[in-house]
């Protein structure tokens, strides 16, 4: 049972242990063999469907692959063009950054407020939780994007409602001034999954801290600022990273609402949508692969930046 080699043994200091290791590996192999056999489908999937294509796309990003003919190596030409002569790259970057920078904090704030409201031990909590979570389940779906299109069109429900107050609204989705904001609203509305995680985080804060604080005469707001928020920072941190990555990856709503065009006037040209257009609209697979790798690097930079700053504001229990 307890035969797993201890870390010290694995590092192998003495010759005796080193000599013993081949037979130990053999033993380990026969023991773990079936385990690996059962893992085989996963390994095949990982190497064949995930790692393999990722590496191939890295190679393709240095080629002019167009789906129909064999790829030709063209050095860094794709990257040079992206960074020096591609107005659509800049536009799509601007749209995506606006989307991420506005929608992620709003979504987290929304999720936190709703989680705080739900955390007051009310009756029927599971039902409310389910209701608030529902948009997140539907969120990435085509149906919701189509519905959003209907809601925010010129004579959609939103404008019908505004008409009650004498406001004649614009056609939100087809006006370049508002189209991105309807997509941000859609993203914020899908606050369900960070909310669930916040809720779980709130449950872990020991009640006796609040009791002690209230004995000391702290008010609700003060307790929130001094106890809830600091103890929740690991969860906030986790949510922020996940949502930021999700934001960069966002594709379906813009694709459906703009019919895959990113219009009006490229105002909803998300980075992923531009990448898709290059790959599947204009068959520049090599160029699109280069775009994909740039996105990967950007997301990695954002994430590592978050990790670097986290030590200044994220408080772990001990």
């Amino acid at each position: 049972m307890a035969s797993a080699p201890s870390p010290e043994a694995a590092r192998g200091g003495s010759p005796a242990i080193a000599a013993a290791s081949p037979s130990r590996f053999a033993a380990a192999r026969s023991k773990h063999g079936p385990g690996y056999l059962f893992l085989l489908p996963w390994f095949i999937g990982f190497f064949g469907l995930t790692l393999g294509p990722i590496l191939i796309s890295l190679y393709l990003s240095f080629t002019d692959f167009d789906l129909l003919t064999a790829p030709h190596w063209n050095g860094g030409a794709n990257f040079v063009r992206i960074f020096t002569a591609d107005a659509k790259f800049i536009q799509s970057m601007r749209v995506t950054l606006t989307f991420v920078i506005v929608s992620v904090p709003l979504k987290l704030a929304f999720a936190l407020v709703v989680a705080l409201l739900l955390n007051r031990g009310m009756r029927g909590l599971p039902i409310y939780r389910a209701i608030f979570y529902l948009p997140s389940l539907l969120g990435a779906s085509v149906a919701i994007a189509v519905l959003w299109r209907q809601l925010f069109a010129g004579n959609g429900l939103v404008n019908q409602f505004l008409l009650n107050f004498g406001i004649v609204g614009p056609s939100w989705i087809s006006n370049p001034r508002y189209s991105l904001w309807t997509l941000i609203a859609l993203a914020v509305w899908q606050f369900g999954s960070p909310m669930i995680i916040f809720l779980a985080g709130l449950r872990q804060i020991p009640l006796d801290m609040y009791e002690a604080a209230s004995l000391d005469g702290a008010g609700k707001w003060r307790m929130f600022r001094k106890i809830t928020l600091p103890l929740l920072t690991p969860v906030i941190f986790f949510n922020a990273i996940i949502q930021t990555i999700e934001g960069f990856k966002s594709f379906t709503p813009a694709f459906i609402i703009s019919g895959g065009t990113g219009n009006p006037i490229n105002s909803t040209l998300f980075y992923t949508l531009y990448l898709y257009q290059e790959a599947f609209g204009f068959f520049r697979m090599g160029y699109a692969s280069a775009l994909a790798w740039i996105l990967l690097v950007i997301v990695a930079v954002f994430t590592s930046f978050s990790f670097l700053t986290s030590k200044y504001w994220v408080h772990y229990d001990n």
Binding site: D64, D66, L67, L68, T69, A153, G154, P170, S171, I173, S174, N175, P176, S258, G259, G260, T261, N263, P264, I265, N266, Q277, F280, G281, F282, F283
Partner: protein, 430 residues
């Protein structure tokens, strides 16, 4: 004990797998794969024709698959790259050159006179399927651009609906009459056509220009484009066309979102074979006429375009049989009746004779329209160059920039020309 079990299990499953792998080989029939774009109406007609072919050729089944135009090219490109292209491929005028020069589709000349009987096939339609002198696609129908017209809206307003002689110069006066009648509140006379590539092409051709030269360059200049954007800016100012916001609802030319279907305009730029599809989603009775002339008496903007082709996959193992199927598709009387003119007007005279008496009202209008273009008809332009599709999306974006007031026609004209030229130059040569 356990090993034995495992071995038995492995043996058993291997046998099962082997049986599964072998069984298709026992089946005597040949399967042809057919890929096409279109909606359900087209699929129903197509599958009726493939069933007829299977009945006439026992042992041959056609495995048909269809999807929307935009998804189609990604799917076909992926299958072709994987060496897994279908046997029979629906091909567009826009892509035939790209597929032909890369051997994605096979030349058909060796089958002409054999499996393919093309004696009474319209010559201009046959030539439309040629690349570098070799035949790569069989046109499934002739087509022309056409203006969809909401007849009822004009009738209510007491105005005669626009016909053959309509010119862009007439539009402000006609719109004033239509707006004064005020029968359909908010409905405008025209959609905003400034971002519609076929409308631009038709207008350019009437000026003696074109979209593209035979060697794949822009055949217009910045001044042409300034005039074009200016034309529409003036129409916008004269209350002839829909607002920029409304026009932007029509992002992809999907029939459901066109200005005529949304009730925002009395007309929409489209193609002659689409009247059936437009009528299916419009309550008001529609009719069809030509795109406006640029001034009274000018013509030559229209042309009879091969609406789509059937080509044979470059890697198909059953090219001869596929050619036989294509021949059946374009000439068998029963198949012709099932297909009607949904893909355009049939290119064989004998097929047209079979089809004509069976047509419904909209199809008859389409047949009449394409057969009687007269002075509106000009020569078939060369197939569009690679990246033409991207230029078309740029036209739409630039037209929106002008319509929303972010730029002026004077600036947009040269800017669009530069952008289009750069895009065309970016295309990879063969």
């Amino acid at each position: 004990m356990t090993t034995l079990h495992r071995r038995q299990f492995l043996l058993g499953s291997a046998a099962a797998l082997a049986a599964g792998a072998i069984s298709p080989a026992f089946a005597a029939d040949t399967k042809l794969r057919l890929l096409f774009w279109g909606g359900k109406a087209r699929a129903d007609r197509t599958f009726a024709a493939t069933d007829l072919f299977s009945k006439a050729n026992p042992g041959v089944t056609i495995d048909g698959e269809f999807m929307a135009f935009q998804d189609y090219w990604a799917k076909l490109g992926t299958q072709t790259a994987g060496g897994n292209a279908p046997d029979i491929i629906q091909m567009d005028y826009r892509y035939i050159v790209e597929y032909a020069i890369r051997n994605g589709i096979a030349p058909l000349d060796e089958f002409v006179g054999g499996a393919l009987q093309l004696d009474d096939f319209d010559k201009d339609q046959l030539d439309g399927g040629k690349v570098d002198g070799k035949l790569y696609g069989i046109s499934l129908g002739a087509n022309s651009v056409a203006l969809m017209v909401n007849e009822a809206a004009f009738k209510e307003a007491g105005i005669e609906s626009p016909g053959r002689d309509l010119s862009y110069e007439d539009l402000p006066a006609l719109a004033a009459k239509f707006n004064a009648a005020n029968k359909r509140s908010g409905m405008k006379l025209f959609q905003d056509g400034s971002g519609v590539e076929p409308a631009l092409e038709n207008w350019l051709r009437q000026r003696g220009k074109a979209l593209y030269t035979a060697d794949g360059k822009a055949a217009f200049d910045g001044q042409d484009m300034t005039d074009w954007f200016k034309l529409w800016a003036d129409l916008r100012a004269a209350d002839v066309i829909v607002s920029a916001e409304d026009q932007a609802l029509d992002a992809t030319d999907a029939i459901e979102n066109t200005m005529i279907t949304l009730g925002k305009a009395t007309t929409t730029f489209a193609n002659s074979n689409q009247l059936i599809a437009f009528q299916a989603v419009n309550k008001d009775p529609l009719t069809m006429t030509n795109f406006p002339r640029i001034k009274p008496g000018s013509g030559g903007g229209h042309y009879r375009k091969p609406s789509m082709f059937f080509s044979i996959g470059g890697t198909s193992a059953n090219k001869e049989l596929s050619a036989k199927f294509i021949n059946f598709f374009i000439s068998d009387p029963e198949a012709a009746k099932a297909l009607g003119v949904e893909r355009g007007i049939p290119c064989k005279a004998s097929t047209r004779e079979v089809v004509a008496p069976t047509l419904d009202a909209q199809s008859k209008i389409a047949l009449e329209f394409v057969s009687n273009l007269g002075d509106l008809l000009g020569a078939l332009p060369p197939a569009p160059p690679a990246n033409a599709g991207e230029v078309s999306t740029q036209l739409r974006t630039t037209s929106q920039e002008v319509a929303f007031g972010q730029t002026s026609p004077e600036d947009a004209g040269p800017a669009f020309f530069d952008q289009a030229s750069a895009t065309l130059a970016r295309a990879k040569k063969g």
